[in-house]
């Protein structure tokens, strides 16, 4: 009896190894760098290499280690609360990323829907077209937008030619250019998971809804949208998270008044050479991103349990 029950719980060595791989990956490539950054964020600026103290050296012995430990402080985090620049950057980043994510969703949903509804034979080609921009460097594609959006750029030339405007629109170096840049760059990240969930949708569900008296446009909201929600959420996270910390797009397309935490961090790190403060900025950024995701997942779990 005991054997029979215990047996499935025992994992083979190979099974354990398989489960260990993703954890090991996270440990090496996420947790370890995070701890290093976290430690720097507790240090103080110094004119040295690396430009902060204390630095830990295992050769100095236990006494030095504890002395060093005592020198760590939360001072940098305090500093972040004192200077309005930082929290304004955070708020502004979240707002810009949020608006961009919404815009990406508005554009990406019809694209994904159209792809999922297209004849089966076309789908690989359409998928290819969505992924195609990745074949060129991200930096070059963002640079290209400068050529399109600047005052004498392609867009303004085109609109002037059509006579829709009399004077060139000022788009470059504004937040609008940043939105355009983010939407353009991150669109595939939203379209792909969304397409995957829309393509899986069983067409007979829509027929059933129609049969029960729901016209197609209502059935879309009652059936298609709720069933594609996992794809929408995954896609939005994939856009929102990198967009919050985005540096290249606001730097190249945004104006001097475009406030984003990525830019602030860059200035802190490269111009002020203040590694501890920029590390603190990065740690807070991670917390801002991780906490809502964890809360959201908890919520989801509770919801699916409540259903059961």
């Amino acid at each position: 009896m005991t054997d029979e029950i215990a047996a499935p719980a025992k994992r083979t060595f190979g099974g354990k190894l398989l489960i260990a791989v993703p954890y090991l990956w996270l440990l090496i490539f996420f947790l370890a760098p995070f701890l290093i950054v976290f430690k720097i964020s507790l240090s103080q600026v110094a004119i040295a290499i690396p430009p902060y103290i204390p630095t830990f050296d295992l050769a100095e012995g236990w006494q030095a280690f504890t002395d060093n430990l005592a020198e760590l402080s939360l001072e940098n985090y305090l500093w972040l609360t004192e200077d309005a620049l930082y929290w304004k950057s955070y708020v502004s980043s979240v707002i810009i990323a949020g608006i961009s994510t919404m815009l990406t969703l508005l554009i990406g949903y019809p694209i994904a829907y159209g792809m999922a509804r297209s004849p089966r034979a076309w789908r690989p080609t359409l998928l290819m077209l969505v992924i195609l921009p990745f074949w060129t460097s991200f930096l070059i594609r963002v640079y290209a937008w400068i050529g399109i959006l600047k005052n004498e750029g392609l867009l303004n030339q085109f609109l002037l030619m059509l006579g829709l405007i009399d004077e060139p629109l000022v788009i470059l170096n504004t937040n609008i250019a940043v939105y355009i840049g983010i939407v353009y760059s991150y669109l595939p990240f939203l379209v792909l998971p969304l397409y995957a969930s829309l393509e899986r949708l069983d067409g007979s569900l829509l027929e059933a809804a129609e049969d029960l008296g729901s016209p197609p446009w209502k059935a879309f909201w009652q059936i298609t949208v709720p069933l594609s929600l996992p794809g929408v959420i995954a896609g939005c996270f994939l856009v929102f998270i990198p967009a919050v910390g985005e540096f290249v797009i606001p730097d190249l397309l945004g104006g001097s008044d475009t406030l984003m935490i990525g830019k602030t961090l860059w200035v802190e790190f490269f111009n002020n050479r203040d590694w501890p403060v920029s590390s603190a900025v990065a740690v807070i950024l991670i917390l801002i991103l991780v906490i809502p995701i964890v809360l959201f997942q908890n919520q989801q779990q509770k919801m699916s349990e409540a259903d059961g």
């Binding site: 069983d202 569900l205 059933a208 129609e210 049969d211 029960l212 009652q222 069933l227 059961g308």
Partner: protein
Amino acid sequence: MAKKSIGPVRREFVPWESPDHPPFIEFRNVTKKFGEFTAVNDLSLKIYEREFFALLGGSGCGKTTLMRMLAGFETPTTGQIFLDGQDMAGIPPYRRPSNMMFQSYALFPHMSVEKNIAFGLKQDKLPAQDIESRVAEMLRLTKLEEFAKRKPHQLSGGQRQRVALARSLAKRPKVLLLDEPLGALDRKLREETQFELMALQEDLEMTFLIVTHDQEEAMTVADRIAVMDKGQLVQVATPAEIYETPNSKFVADFIGDVNLIEAKVVEKSTTGTRLVSVTDGFVIDSEQNTDAGTDETVWYAIRPEKVRIAQGTGEAGAVNQIGGLVWDIAYLGDVSIIHVKVGEDDHDTIRSTFANVSRMVEKPITWDDEVVLTFDRDAGVILRG
């Protein structure tokens, strides 16, 4: 058709016998092509209000396609479909007074059982109270009360099927289309549900169109049965007529068990037809008049339960009497089916049903016994192909 009563009549309901009775559903020369393939071929059919109509046929013969055209999901390539006197061309599914139970169930995975059932009622903007009571009624009917809050993926196959049934019934449509509604149920629940369906159909005065693979089910529930083959109707008649007077070898073979004997017409008279078995030479005397000419080869179809069996030797040349050896016995409990070898070839057998009325028989019929098969003049039917 012979104008004598065949089988039990469930109720005084025979609108198809009066030519003036307006049909409720009418297919008029409907053809449906998928590319080059013809799924439904020039089919005409009338179904009457409050009729329980069954479509029977092999896999891929076009039953689902026929239903989907009625529900509005497929457009006929040519021909017309009328529902309650109205041409259905161009009317979208959501405005048709029919509901369909899908062969694949098509339950909404993100909604609980009760939400699934309530879906159609909500589209009609019924008061919340009415929706609630109707859903409760449907849950009771399909014995799903304890699963009301579950999602479809938390149900067994049979339970899902019942949800699909409840959802399609909830709106009490004028026409209910049931595509293999009971396939996943166990025998007992299936029989119960069949009777529930019949009672419901009577009570609510709805018209039911049911597709099934199970001919016993079709015989149980339906007022009339249509047997389909390759996109065409082969025979449309009451269950008893289909069983007793099939109009073709296909129908005789498709419905129930049948002995098909190849025979040659030797004599035609006003009182009937005389046939001789092609392979074994025995003589069949039938009261049926046939259009087949003398010397024409026809099929004589006779059900096993209409063939009597007794121990003994047959008289050579006697009419409707065939001697043979017991070749195989299939014991089914209530009856045994006895295969009697009547010719040289091992496969040349005729089946007879033997009712096991007493538990012990002194000298039961057993393997290799010499037996004689007899049947009446009206026991079988002559079929031309």
